[in-house]
């Protein structure tokens, strides 16, 4: 029987990576926040790869941290192996990735949520959501009714989740957990338009069955970089990963059994991610490739379970086993878990605002896979933005909108709500046109101020950050003024690094501008260098070395910002605007962009349409 239970300001449905950050941000901003999860033992579960970060995702984690989120510290706390990817390819594309102790990560996150003031963690399945005036009523499986002011849906792959393995399929959440079936129907009744996406995960095998000696190991970095700007504890590499390859035999097994794949026999309707193809997809689409790389990754510190990156599949279990055993080093592999594809309900993100609130449902927000994205980091980033903005709205404060010039988080959200996605959206460095400025090393310089103003960064941390800015400015001034004389020693160093000897003495700043020269190389010639943290030197050096490019990107950013601050009313009737082209009317009406900048990025809206729009706004006294 239904009963009236506790009221909250904000309810978060789901305690995955999106739900965690949403709940923490809302509670930390002073809102009484409930976080509901179907299974309390898997808060912050990683149902797919046991790692956090990676290219562009590493940027997201550092940005989340710079804004006061939890993911970075949690990853640092539970690292098995830490690697900075893309070293040597330029600072813009350096990305941090860590293999994570999956169980440890869940325990850590659960504990953080438990300890968080204003936050109420509950194991309960939400089965119904309905409006009641300006507020929302949530109903649990046990028929408790909670009245809340805002709801954040972060259901991941649970929402009407359905698993496919060969010709077998059943309703399920990930990792054998219950799916959220009734809630899916409830959202439909509410009028939320959902669609089906699909994703998948490879098999897990037992370490004792792997011929580890025959595999190529991949170790972590000697010099460890932390995800979090506040991590002050030691992070160590304890586990390597291993590499092997599929061969001709694997290919033959797959091609012989293709008819048994639900993907190829048409049983799955969901749209799968392009960046995460199943092994059968790879073999079919890239048939000329002789081998495909497989990573064997540890799943935790207290388990022998290993993850097989590259063997995602929805083929039947017997075929999967044959495939895995055709791979060198895995001939005797014992399965701990079978690979599966999972289909789930999600929304078209074009129906969301930049705060991730539904345009048509005040107080209803979406975050994570529910919004059509993919990946733990993408989810966490959205959770933070949704949670923060839901809280700010309840407090009657201005929203915090991260536009795409500020961050990868902003780029991710702008892409989702402006361009939409036809398959699960993954962050990539190539998605950001401002990537020389949006680096992982300067996330704090870009965002900590915003996090502080929003109320997510403590006074103490903010003061440390200001101190760092001061040191950067002082060091910059020092190298601007320091003259380095021409000596045989420095000339020898320069020539050995492939750049030219000095004609006469130079300022240190001009030496640092040379791509071939860095702080380390100048140590013997810079005797009075102050003792500063490495990241201060790093910032000064990158600022100097890439100055010309950075300035140019900053100009592009300034151009865009001008349009970004011009806001468009949600109820603007584009049919009424003389001079707009038909295609523009249709697209603008559908997407209802929130700023002129956003409108300018919609495909099918031309610069002339933007001019017309600006005139219309001005004429009608809508000044944003």
């Amino acid at each position: 029987m239904e009963y009236i239970s506790e009221n909250f300001d904000i309810a978060v449905i789901g305690a995955g990576h999106a739900g965690i950050e949403a709940g923490l941000a809302a509670a930390r901003l002073g809102c009484k926040t409930a976080v509901f999860t179907i299974n309390l033992d898997w808060v912050g579960n990683m149902p797919c790869n046991p790692s956090i970060g990676g290219t562009s995702k590493g940027h997201l984690v550092r940005e989340i941290d710079a804004l006061g989120g939890e993911m970075g510290i949690a990853a640092d706390r539970n690292t098995l192996q830490n690697r900075m990817l893309n070293l040597g390819k330029g600072p813009a594309v350096h990305s941090l990735r860590a293999q994570i102790d999956r169980r440890g990560y869940c325990d850590y996150m659960k504990f953080v949520l438990e300890k968080q003031e204003n936050l109420y963690l509950r194991q309960a399945e939400i089965t119904d959501i309905r409006r009641d005036g300006d507020e929302w009523i949530l109903k649990t499986r046990l028929e408790a009714l909670h009245r809340v002011k805002a709801v954040i849906i972060a259901t991941g792959t649970f929402l009407a989740g359905k698993i496919f393995i060969g010709d077998i399929s059943y309703e399920s959440g990930p990792d054998g957990m219950f799916p959220s079936v009734e809630l899916a129907q409830s959202l439909k009744n509410l009028g939320v338009l959902t669609r089906r996406f699909k994703t998948g995960t490879p098999p897990r095998i037992n370490r004792r069955s792997v011929d580890i000696e025959s595999l190529e190991p991949q170790y972590g970095d000697e010099k460890i970089t932390h995800f979090s700007y506040v991590t002050d504890f030691e992070v160590r590499n304890t586990e390597p990963c291993y590499i092997t390859y599929t061969g001709e035999e694997t290919k033959k097994i797959i091609l012989d059994n293709l008819h048994r794949s639900p993907l190829y026999s048409g049983k799955i309707d969901g749209v799968g991610p392009r960046y995460c193809p199943s092994i059968e997809d790879k073999i079919v689409r890239f048939s000329e490739k002789e081998r495909h790389q497989i990573f064997v990754e540890p799943c935790g510190a207290n388990t022998d379970e290993m993850y097989l990156q590259g063997v995602s599949s929805s083929l039947p279990e017997d075929v999967q086993l044959k495939i895995v055993r055709s791979i060198p080093g895995l001939e005797n592999a014992e399965f701990l878990r079978t690979a599966y594809a999972i289909e789930y309900d999600c929304v078209d993100p074009l129906t969301l605002r930049q705060t991730l609130e539904f345009k048509d449902f005040d107080g209803l927000y979406g975050a994570g896979q529910f919004n059509g994205s993919s990946g733990y980091e993408e989810a966490a980033a959205q959770g933070l933005v949704a949670g923060m903005n839901a809280a700010l709205k309840i407090k009657g404060k201005e929203p915090v909108i991260l536009d795409r010039t500020t961050s990868y988080i902003g780029t991710l959200i702008d892409d989702l709500v402006t361009k939409g996605c036809s398959d699960p959206y993954r962050m990539m460095t190539s998605r950001s046109e401002y990537r020389l400025i949006l680096r992982q090393d300067n996330a704090d310089r870009r965002l900590t101020e915003i996090g502080y103003k929003a109320g997510l960064i403590s006074e103490e941390r903010y003061n440390k950050f200001l101190k760092k800015l001061e040191l950067i400015a002082e060091e910059r001034e020092r190298v601007e003024n320091l003259s380095i004389p021409k000596t045989p020693e420095i000339d020898a160093m320069l020539v050995s690094r492939g750049t030219s000897a000095l004609e006469k003495g130079l300022k240190m700043i001009d030496l640092l501008r040379r791509p071939q020269v860095n702080y380390e190389a100048l140590t013997p010639f810079d005797k009075n260098r102050p003792d500063l943290p490495d990241d201060v030197f790093e910032q000064v050096e990158i600022d100097i070395k890439y100055e010309g490019y950075l300035k140019r990107q900053q100009m592009q950013i300034n151009d865009l910002r001008r349009l970004e601050v011009k806001r468009l009313p949600n109820d603007l009737d584009y049919n009424e605007i003389t001079g707009l082209r038909l295609e523009a009317i249709e697209k603008l009406g559908k997407i209802r962009p929130e700023t002129v900048g956003q409108a300018s990025r919609i495909s099918g809206v031309s610069p002339a349409d933007i001019s017309v729009l600006l005139i219309y706004l001005e004429r009608n006294g809508i000044n944003g």
Partner: protein, 455 residues
């Protein structure tokens, strides 16, 4: 609102007496100051407005015209912003050059109706006028959309698309290499990219050259006659123009001013300037003429270098040969009616084109015509062939070219590939502006279709 500084030709796009280039926006006077130098010595930025200033227009530090610049201060101007209007000596060529100078100095090309749009936004025109402007902009937007597909001729569009595709392919390789460091994707190296960038650079240069050569036919080219004194420059000028334009005497140093005339040579309209003979001289007045001649030589699109074929080459001749080194130039061995005494070898080594001619009899004029046509390839010029149709399109190509050259430069300096990548992105942006597509999604799509990546 958009507060870029914009510039456009404000007079009808047809040959006429006076051409007006309007520059409007926050930085209008700064832009104008970069290209216009009032004789008063003051800058336009110091002007109070509602003033006319007489002075010279400069492009690449070379004077291209004398002009009047009207300065209007915000809000008392047509657009309500700071405005500079440069009225120059008409002729499409000069007018367009002044516009190009303004664009190079930091102005953006104005959209159709943009001045009026700004006038409205700044409350300078009323609602009814605004309505009609909106329809106008709407209509021109439609035209512009059609233009992106249609006025870019099929061949040209394919050519530009080809260049864009080659850069997109590079960016896709870079993206895959960067976003999937663990997948076994071939390393993308700077040395692999360089030939692609260089080929794109050549294609764009060629596209721009073709536009400029088409313009040579429609708008005319800037040519200059140089030579040491008394080799027959003025006689040549008179031959080409068909009447006594320059005073001809056998006294060396007669022409001191620069004498200009529009002449037609074959299909090409040339604005030819006759200059003082270039020589070392003590005479102050003559020296001014010599310096004028040298400057004129530097900015000319074509140099006609005249030598006296009946005499051995002198030191002054050798100097002139040096001046012509980096120029498009034709050597004219004058006085072919007299026996040849000059060393043809030296001339032929220094000039790709040389013609023997007699300025007094007109013999050799046909060869000169042919040489000019060869240089500007106007004999290949087909008015119906693929060519950029506007300065705006040219600007897109120029921007793309600049970005590609920046990428090449970055590679050569050893800058990391993330910066090279950003230059390449800018080039794609500029090119896709011409074809009306968006850049980043193009790269992402290419990554997934070309590379087998992902977990």
């Amino acid at each position: 609102m958009d507060n870029r500084t914009i510039a456009a030709i404000a007079t009808p796009n047809a040959p006429g007496g006076i051409g007006v280039i309007r520059i409007s926006g926050e930085n209008a006077l700064e832009v104008a100051d970069r290209i216009f130098r009032p004789v008063s010595g003051k800058t336009l930025s110091e002007s109070k407005g509602y003033r006319a200033h007489f002075g010279d227009v400069y492009y690449n530090n070379e004077k291209i015209d004398e002009a009047v610049c009207l300065v209007f201060r915000a809000p008392a101007s047509y657009t309500g912003e700071d405005v500079a209007e440069i009225s120059c000596h008409g002729g499409l060529f000069v007018t367009k050059q002044v516009l190009r100078a303004a664009l190079d100095a930091g102005a953006a090309p104005a959209e159709a109706g943009e001045f009026t749009k700004r006038a409205f936004l700044n409350g300078k025109i009323d609602l009814a006028a605004a309505e009609s402007v909106m329809s106008l902009i709407g209509a021109s937007g439609k035209q512009a959309a059609a233009a992106a597909l249609n006025t870019l001729d099929g061949n040209l569009s394919r050519e530009i698309k080809g260049v864009a595709d080659s850069i997109i392919a590079i960016c896709a390789s870079l993206a895959a290499w960067v976003d999937y460091p663990d997948d076994d994707i071939e390393d993308t190296s700077a040395s692999d990219m360089l030939p692609v960038f260089e080929s794109a650079q050549n294609s764009l240069k060629e596209i721009i050259r073709r536009y400029d050569c088409g313009r040579a036919v429609t708008d005319g080219i800037d040519a200059v006659i140089v030579g040491r004194p008394n080799v027959g420059k003025s006689t040549l000028m008179n031959l080409l123009s068909g009447f006594e334009r320059s005073i001809v005497t056998n006294i060396a140093g007669t022409t001191r001013d620069v004498v200009e005339e529009k002449i037609v040579l074959g299909e090409i309209v040339m604005r030819v300037a006759d200059t003082a003979g270039i020589r070392e001289t003590e005479n102050v007045v003559e020296n001014i003429g010599v310096n004028l001649a040298k400057r004129r030589l530097e900015r000319a699109e074509l140099v006609l270098a005249v030598f006296d074929g009946s005499e051995p080459l002198t030191d002054d001749d050798i100097d002139i040969i040096k001046y012509c080194e980096s120029k498009r130039a034709i050597a004219l061995l004058n006085k072919s009616d007299l026996p040849l005494a000059a060393d043809r070898k030296i001339i032929e080594n220094a000039f790709a084109h040389s013609v023997e001619l007699s300025a007094s009899t007109g013999e050799g004029r046909g060869e000169l015509e042919k040489a000019v046509a060869d240089i500007f390839r106007t004999n290949e010029f087909n008015p119906n062939a693929a060519c950029l149709t506007s300065e705006r399109q040219r600007q897109c190509c120029v921007n793309a070219l600049a970005s590609i050259e920046e990428a090449i430069n970055a590679i050569n300096c050893g800058v990391t590939l993330d910066a090279v990548n950003v230059c390449a992105d800018c080039a794609i942006d500029a090119l896709l502006q011409l074809t009306g597509e968006k850049a980043t999604s193009a790269v992402v799509d290419e990554v997934f279709s070309r590379f087998c990546v992902g977990k």
